[in-house]
């Protein structure tokens, strides 16, 4: 698509530039919006403000090192990004992480998903003008982050996964604290309903806003909760299970509404599903090693590998081309946010400015993942 020059506006239209610094874009996204009064006629996302050429960087980093860089893509799903890369490397080495390591990965992954969804919930409230929910969500998120910090040493960009397993065993307090968290979360969950979900203003802001049909969602390549709200079954945890997700019982939440409200409900239900997964696994972590034996210098055979995982925002694909050296020849990430963003101009056409906030909030973009 060619970028239209600034001055092409019809009678009565005007252009506003939302971003790169704007309170609601959660980062340096720049949306150029053609407006007719309050109604959006056209949106043109402009990218590149936070491009760090992660894919190129990966070409000069070894297979052990390149995992940590991916934490900086979708920083809210850092753990899942790392998991995708580690799984890809393991696929290339034709090894598997030990059962204990897999369980730890899943546990930490679901904790990360919870923490990411909580941040999403908080910022959805914030984007729609309610500031208070933010703090309620951060109370639970703080507990999660403390658990992550105890085991991984970091709160956001964990880098806890190494090819073949995880860096350390879980912290001795881990199981107890996760159980406490589940209890705390279930006890506080009704507050989320009371302050935001049940609120009539909030519901009216989301219901019937930002509709995307199943066909459009597929053709734009939407994944994750955004697509599942349009009735597409696309949970990689179900479709191509990894790290033992096939042994766990959880539902793939699929709604057919396709509007912001459906997207909201999908994520809220996923929070509960994540809690269920945690509950199933926390007492059943297999004994054994947390790290499979690997060579010091990891070298993959010539060829290419594709591995996908379900991050908090959708499907992350890692494509590695190896020429047999210690670093990837080419590395490509299929990031969920990029595809989801591409649907926004379609979704938001004809909406009001206020609706755009609801759409952006429920599609839940993380900008560094778009630019990489």
């Amino acid at each position: 698509m060619l970028l239209a020059p600034d001055h092409i506006t019809e009678e009565g239209e005007f252009i506003i530039n939302m971003g790169p610094q704007h309170p609601a874009t959660h980062g340096v996204l720049h949306l150029k919006i053609w407006l007719d009064g309050e109604t959006i006629k056209k949106i043109e996302p402009q990218l590149g403000y936070i491009h760090r050429s992660i894919e190129k960087m990966c070409e000069s980093l070894s297979y052990r090192q390149f995992i940590y860089v991916t934490s900086r893509m979708d920083y809210l799903s850092a753990h899942m990004n790392n998991q995708a890369c580690a799984l890809a490397v393991e696929k290339g080495l034709q090894i598997e992480a030990t059962p204990r390591a897999q369980a730890i990965r899943v546990l930490l992954g679901e904790l990360t998903r919870l923490s990411s969804h909580l941040l999403w919930w908080a910022s959805t409230g914030l984007d729609l003008g309610g500031i208070t929910p933010f703090f309620y969500a951060f109370r639970e998120r703080e507990t999660i982050n403390t658990i992550l910090e105890e085991t991984c040493g970091t709160r956001l960009t964990q880098n806890f996964i190494v090819p073949g397993g995880v860096m350390y065993d879980i912290h001795p307090d881990f199981q107890k604290k996760v159980k406490d968290l589940i209890k705390q979360f279930r006890a506080n969950y009704h507050e989320y309903d009371e302050i935001l979900t049940g609120n009539v203003i909030f519901q009216n802001r989301l219901k019937g806003v930002g509709y995307i049909s199943k066909e459009d969602a597929i053709s734009y390549g939407c994944t994750g909760p955004t697509a599942r709200a349009s009735g597409i079954s696309c949970d990689i945890r179900k479709l191509a299970p990894y790290d033992g997700y096939d042994k766990l019982k959880f539902d793939e939440v699929i709604l057919s509404g396709g509007d912001c409200w459906a997207r909201y409900q999908v994520r809220m239900a996923e929070i509960i599903q994540s809690l269920n997964i945690l509950e199933q696994l926390i007492d059943n972590i297999p004994e054994g090693d947390f790290l499979a034996k690997t060579k010091n210098v990891v070298k993959l055979n010539k060829g290419d590998i594709y591995q996908r995982v379900e991050t908090a925002r959708g499907e992350l694909g890692v494509y590695i081309v190896s020429d047999g050296a210690a670093t990837p020849y080419r590395c490509k990430f299929r990031s969920p946010n990029f595809s989801n963003l591409s649907a926004i101009p379609h979704i938001a056409k004809g909406a009001k400015i206020g609706d755009l906030m609801a759409i952006m909030a429920t599609v839940d973009l993380v900008i560094p993942d778009i630019d990489r």
Binding site: L61, R64, Q65, F66, Y68, V69, T132, R139, E142, T146, E149, E150, T151, C152, G153, T154, T157, N159, V162, M167, Y168, H171, E191, E194, I195, L196, G198, N199, V200, I201
Partner: protein
Amino acid sequence: MFLKNYIGDIFSSIKSLLTGMKLTGYYFTHLKEIVTEEYPDNRGTLKMAERFRGEVIMPHNENNEHRCTGCQACELACPNASIKIVTKQETQPDGKKKKRIDTFVYRLDMCTFCNLCVNACPSEAIVMGQKFEHSVYDKKQLKKILNFPNSKLMEGVEE
């Protein structure tokens, strides 16, 4: 029918709004629920998790000895070249010359706290420290030398 819906709408909306106000009202009147940590004031009691990645440090024992052999595995493992090891040849008491570290340069300003160096070290010479208040006025102060002056290699690490 229309009127019934209309009035029903009003009442259900008011009810949903009041539920929200009840919640905020609850927290307004229950100050013990406050979760804020008063950070700079609680420095005395603040304890970071033991695995917390604050900075890379090299523990020395009471005889000013460390465990670093200068094998440079950490330097290789570091993805962004935050570690630079300068080695020197040192004459041992038995007359043999051996490689020892001269300076272990660690650039905190470039470190991403990925823990790969600690993982790579075969002799457990470096660990992650808990200190996290690293702000300084001069960037040069973030370039640290981790081995203490005149420190020695601990006996028995090298084998």
